[in-house]
């Protein structure tokens, strides 16, 4: 590492240039400090997320948690069985205590589930169906008869708390940590709960500091004022050099997808991609190796689909995806009647082949500069691209996505749910509750597959339907053009070790070890 | 009974070969102006507008604004050449040895401070203690015919004539050895002119200062001065008793001045 002169650092006063790690600000004895993003906790009863999502402080716990194949594994439910048509019997884990000493029994589960699970309508729990079988087991039913309800209960918003009116201020959960102090937009502090059924965490206290600006989070890490940065946005990776002494970059297996969603049902002038041949040509014109080299510190890999192979045991024979084959792409466009003009750009009966690409969900800076690279790749096969970069999520949806006002929608997102059908159903089914995805639903053939998966009772059968639906969506209908599979990132000070997990919400930072 | 102010210590103003031009090599505005104002005497500097009268006044007090610059000549007050002094010592001389009353009454006073305070600040140049300066200021205002109530008002609440008399009161409070008056009566109605001239008369009696009265109005000059000199296009063209000018001797410039004074009388 070249020695950065002080003057240059002073002159440029950059974050990365300052590689002298400050040690005199070690954590006050025994408190792990985590730099989280901006504070978006909600303390309203119906939409309660305090301590549960981004960051998840492990104060409350869900009935089940995702294992390393994102299948639901027992947590507060010791076991559960689906008796058909959405009826379930679940046996609660014995010896579980709430932080105030109340025992976790059938009765407390029922009242807590009514307040904290029944209000999440994507889970679909029928509050009236909750019945006490005996002190340690309960019976309940899914409103839609779904066999995957418990899988949906692995979402952080399904964490259970003691149902008291002031839940909004100080939630009492069953988790390894008890909430100590919450100062909105500044800090959430938790301490170890010794009566925890799952044994003691390593860190006695954890402090989550809300630092809204990504660059400030990184600087706090370099200045040793936080030990871990849990909320990592791609823009931060640019300020970290390959072997940067001040920051350790931890990465999970690839889980998120960077992909181009095609507008299959666009009204003119965004109806060009109704033609499968054009969609297929675009998919074949992309050099995914080049994208992988430029983006996300080279840690992403070319993607074949929107769901990674290791998830739900999907295996590797899922969509073949698309390699780079410009010759085939050119043939497809010629077949589709888009002839090349003098300047090499294609047109058909006077109409130039010009696509609008809107970038991106969640924001433009998380996928920069992919749009410009893709535009150049498309221009080599004669397709002109108008790029619209939008940073604000609401404008992305209300001005573009929800109204299908573009041909291609660039997204960086991923599935965080143990319900195998969750992503494909909401993104590609014609009856999706999210308005913007109606434009990407291939139609009946895929709907049938997804419905079959949703109504399936045996997990292997459900996964098989999902696998087939995924293949139809990508290979056959090219409703989405997968680009990259991107790992989740966590940044730490040198010497801090945590056990990584693909969904950052389920990483237990309390178990981190601070090295020498 | 008003106690006479300090004993007369009039200064002797000698100007030798004063030449002013625009930015050095540029055209000359004043060329080789020399004259002598013995202590206690009064001299009128006459000239039509544009003849360089005001430039002379500013030059004497080293208040010329760039690009105008004094290219040669000396200004001596009691044999001290003002152009040889550094900033600080020049500041000592300003006001105490040489003071100037401006022509434009409307803008010459600080718009945001009352009259009494402004005259007191002039008095403080001579009498550092605030209380003493205050009495001097009150006396000076009284001497020029302004009562205390007017003293507490602001310049914009007084007429042109009254504002000019405030300047005279300042001069009175200051007791300069030489007083320059640059067109003090111009732009005033005849009643206000008389009041200003009378105030000047009182001031000169009390302080015994010597006066250089700069004007184009022979009649006003005649009230205070006996001798005069005429400036025409930057050169002194005539010197002598004022009465000669009134009767039209001494060349075309003097004649033009005499005629304009005559017309004013009709």
């Amino acid at each position: 590492m070249k020695r950065r002169t002080f003057l240059k650092a002073g002159l440029v006063a950059s974050s990365a240039a300052a590689n002298c790690v400050r040690t005199d600000r070690e954590a006050p004895k025994g408190t792990l400090r985590v730099g989280a993003g901006s504070d978006r906790y909600n303390t309203a009863p119906g939409r309660f997320t305090l301590t549960t999502s981004r960051p998840n402080a492990h104060v409350g716990e869900p009935p089940a948690r995702p294992n390393n194949r994102f299948e639901a594994r027992p947590w507060l439910f010791e076991s559960w069985t689906h008796e058909g048509e959405g009826a379930y019997v679940a046996h609660l884990r014995p010896g579980v205590l709430f932080h105030d000493g109340t025992a976790f029994t059938a009765d407390t589960f029922i009242t807590s589930a009514r307040q904290f699970i029944a209000t999440r309508d994507f889970i679909g729990l029928d509050p009236a169906s909750l019945r006490r079988v005996d002190d340690g087991s309960v019976r309940f039913r899914s409103k839609t008869g779904s066999a995957l309800m418990v899988d949906n209960m692995t979402h952080p918003s399904a964490c259970l708390f003691l149902p008291r009116d002031q839940a909004g201020r100080k939630p009492i959960g069953t988790g390894p940590y008890r909430m100590v102090r919450y100062e909105p937009q500044r800090v959430l502090e938790v301490e170890r709960f010794d009566g925890y059924w799952g044994g003691q965490s390593k860190q006695p206290r954890v402090m989550y500091r809300f630092l809204a600006d990504p660059q400030t989070r990184l600087l706090a890490l370099r200045a040793s004022e936080v030990d871990i940065v849990s909320d990592v946005v791609p823009e931060m990776l640019l300020s970290i050099e390959k072997n940067d002494p001040g920051v350790t970059v931890l990465r999970s297996r690839p889980i998120r997808y960077a992909a181009l969603f095609c507008n299959l049902h666009g009204a003119p002038p965004f109806h060009t991609l109704r033609d499968l041949r054009v969609r297929r040509a675009l998919a074949l014109a992309i050099d995914r190796e080049a994208l992988a080299r430029v983006m996300y510190m080279g840690q992403a890999v070319p993607a074949r689909g929107v769901l990674p192979g290791w998830m739900f045991n999907l295996g590797d024979e899922f969509p073949r995806g698309f390699g780079m084959d410009t010759a085939q792409a050119t043939r497809l466009l010629d077949d589709a009647g888009w002839t090349r003009g003098a300047d090499g750009m294609r047109a058909r009966d006077g109409q130039r082949l010009r696509l609008r690409m809107v970038s991106a969900f969640p924001n433009a800076s998380s996928v920069k500069p992919m749009p410009e690279m893709l535009a150049q790749m498309f221009s080599t096969i004669g397709v002109a691209t108008e790029i619209v970069e939008v940073e604000d999520e609401q404008v992305y949806y209300s001005a573009y996505a929800d109204r299908g006002q573009a041909d291609l929608f660039l997204e960086l997102a991923g599935n965080a749910n143990a319900d195998p059908t969750f992503l494909l159903y909401n993104a590609f089914h014609t009856a999706t509750p999210w308005p913007s995805y109606r434009f990407h639903a291939p139609g009946a053939e895929v709907d049938a597959r997804l419905d079959a998966a949703r109504h399936g009772t045996v997990r292997e059968e459900i996964v098989a339907h999902v696998r087939e639906a995924h293949r139809l969506i990508v290979d056959k209908h090219v409703a989405v053009v997968p680009l990259l599979s991107v790992p989740a990132f966590v940044l730490t000070r040198p010497g801090v070790a945590i056990n990584m997990f693909e969904n950052v919400d389920w990483i237990d930072f309390g178990d981190a070890t601070i090295g020498a | 009974m008003v106690k006479p102010l300090a004993s007369p210590n009039a200064g002797h103003l000698k100007v030798e070969g004063l030449t002013v031009s625009v930015g050095g090599p540029g055209p000359t505005l004043l060329e080789d102006v020399s004259f002598d104002l013995p202590p206690g005497n009064r001299l009128a500097l006459l000239g039509t507008s544009g003849s360089g009268k005001s430039v002379t006044a500013s030059a004497l007090l080293r208040l010329l604004r760039p690009p105008l610059v004094v290219t040669s000549g000396r200004v001596l007050v009691d044999d001290v050449d003002l152009y040889g002094l550094d900033g600080r010592s020049m500041r000592e001389h300003r006001g105490r040895s040489l003071f100037m009353i401006f022509q434009s009454p409307g803008t010459a006073l600080n718009p945001c401070t009352n009259i009494l305070t402004q005259v007191r600040r002039a008095a403080e140049r001579r009498e550092p203690s605030r209380a003493a300066a205050l009495t001097i200021a009150a006396q000076a205002l009284d001497a020029v015919g302004l009562n205390l109530r007017q003293g507490l008002q602001f310049p914009f609440e007084l007429s042109g004539g009254m504002q000019q008399r405030v300047l005279v009161a300042m001069a009175l409070a200051l007791e300069p050895r030489v007083l320059l008056a640059d067109e003090p009566t111009t732009g005033l109605d005849s009643l206000a002119q008389r009041e200003v001239l009378r105030a000047l008369e009182v001031m000169l009696e009390r302080t015994g200062a010597s006066l250089l009265f700069i004007t184009h109005d022979l009649r006003a000059a005649n009230v205070l001065c006996r001798n005069a000199m005429v400036l025409d296009r930057g050169r002194l063209v005539a010197k002598g008793p004022l009465s000669d000018f009134l009767t039209g001797q001494h060349g075309p410039a003097a004649h033009a001045l005499a005629r304009s004074a005559a017309e004013a009388d009709r």
Binding site: S15, D213, E393, Q394, S398 | R94, G95, L109, F156
Partner: protein, 313 residues
């Protein structure tokens, strides 16, 4: 003076009333929907009836004028409603953020006044000297470099390299100096340029030449003759800048980790949190109007020409 006060009060009230209407309208026509935004952020797809229930709960389904009327009625009872994104009463959110912004605003104001006066007077004392050219260069640099950079460079240098300050903010006064300085650099130097210009223009006036002719010292002249005349107009300029500071400095608050009004506003905009955004726009607007009204009255009182004049405002 009393007539002016009465007229000014009436004027301020009308402005505030119109401002509340514009604030409500601006927020309502901004693209995006708070309820959908909140549900989308939680990453959970919401069935239409949940969205509808929430829209009713937050009174978003009524026509615009009706919603505005209800908002005003609640406002008259000082009930600002509840934040959609955080579930906490809006008044509590504003109250929590206010001290952070006020501290920063006041310290920045002091620095802006000091910076503008010192650079302005220094440049005015020797208007064509080397110092003035240096100050002008500094002003151009300070104005051209975006605040985002200055702030990050300051945090990077201050906390990471030199270790004087901390990245993570503490409520101490020390933690206030760096952000306040960054916030006051551009406005301070810009107003400094105006001060220089005003001082030079005033020094060209006859009454200052008279003061020089009296032989009074430059310091006396600067304060008693120049300062007294141009003072009131500078007060209005500082007040306007302070008015903006009360709205919260978004960038500096984000980077220096000060959860003030600017930060709150940015979150409210991102989440389309209507209740918070409307309340913020109104309060920031009212603060701005009141500060400027106070400044106008103060400068009118300071300037005898206005104080005594009968002319209508």
């Amino acid at each position: 003076m009393r007539g002016r006060l009465g007229r000014r009060l009436l004027w301020t009230l009308t402005t505030i009333a119109l401002m509340s209407m514009v604030a409500f309208l601006l927020v309502a026509i901004a693209p995006g929907d708070p309820v959908v935004a909140e549900l989308r952020f939680m990453g959970v797809p919401a069935t239409p009836n949940t969205v509808e229930a929430l829209r009713r709960e937050f009174d978003l389904d009524a026509p615009l004028p009706v919603r505005y009327a209800r908002w005003i009625v609640r406002l008259s009872r000082l009930d600002l409603g509840e934040s959609i994104a955080s579930g906490r009463p809006v008044a509590a959110e504003l109250a929590r953020a206010l001290p952070w912004t006020l501290q920063l605003a006041f310290v920045s104001l002091v620095m802006i006044v000091a910076l503008s006066l010192s650079t302005g007077l220094a440049a005015a004392l020797h208007p064509y000297g080397r110092l003035t050219t240096f100050l002008r260069g500094l002003t151009i640099m300070a104005i051209s470099i975006p605040v985002y950079w200055l702030a990050l460079a300051a945090v990077g240098l201050g906390a990471v390299v030199l270790g004087w300050s901390t990245v993570v903010s503490d409520a101490s006064l020390g933690g206030l100096l760096l952000p306040a300085f960054i916030l006051s650099l551009a406005p301070g130097l810009a107003i400094g340029r105006v001060v220089r210009q005003r001082v030079i223009d005033e020094r060209l006036e006859d009454h200052v030449r008279l003061a020089v002719a009296l032989g009074r010292s430059p310091a006396q002249i600067l304060i008693q003759d120049v300062g007294v005349v141009i003072g009131p107009s500078l007060v209005t300029m500082w007040a306007t800048t302070f008015g903006y500071l009360l709205g919260g400095a978004v960038v500096v608050e984000r980077i220096f980790d000060r959860p003030g009004l600017g930060n709150l506003a940015l979150h409210a905009i991102a989440a389309r949190d209507y209740p918070v955004l409307q309340a913020y726009l109104l309060c920031a607007g009212v603060a701005f109007v009141l500060v400027n009204a106070a400044a106008d009255l103060l400068s009118a009182w300071l300037d005898p020409r206005l104080r005594r004049s009968r002319v209508d405002d």
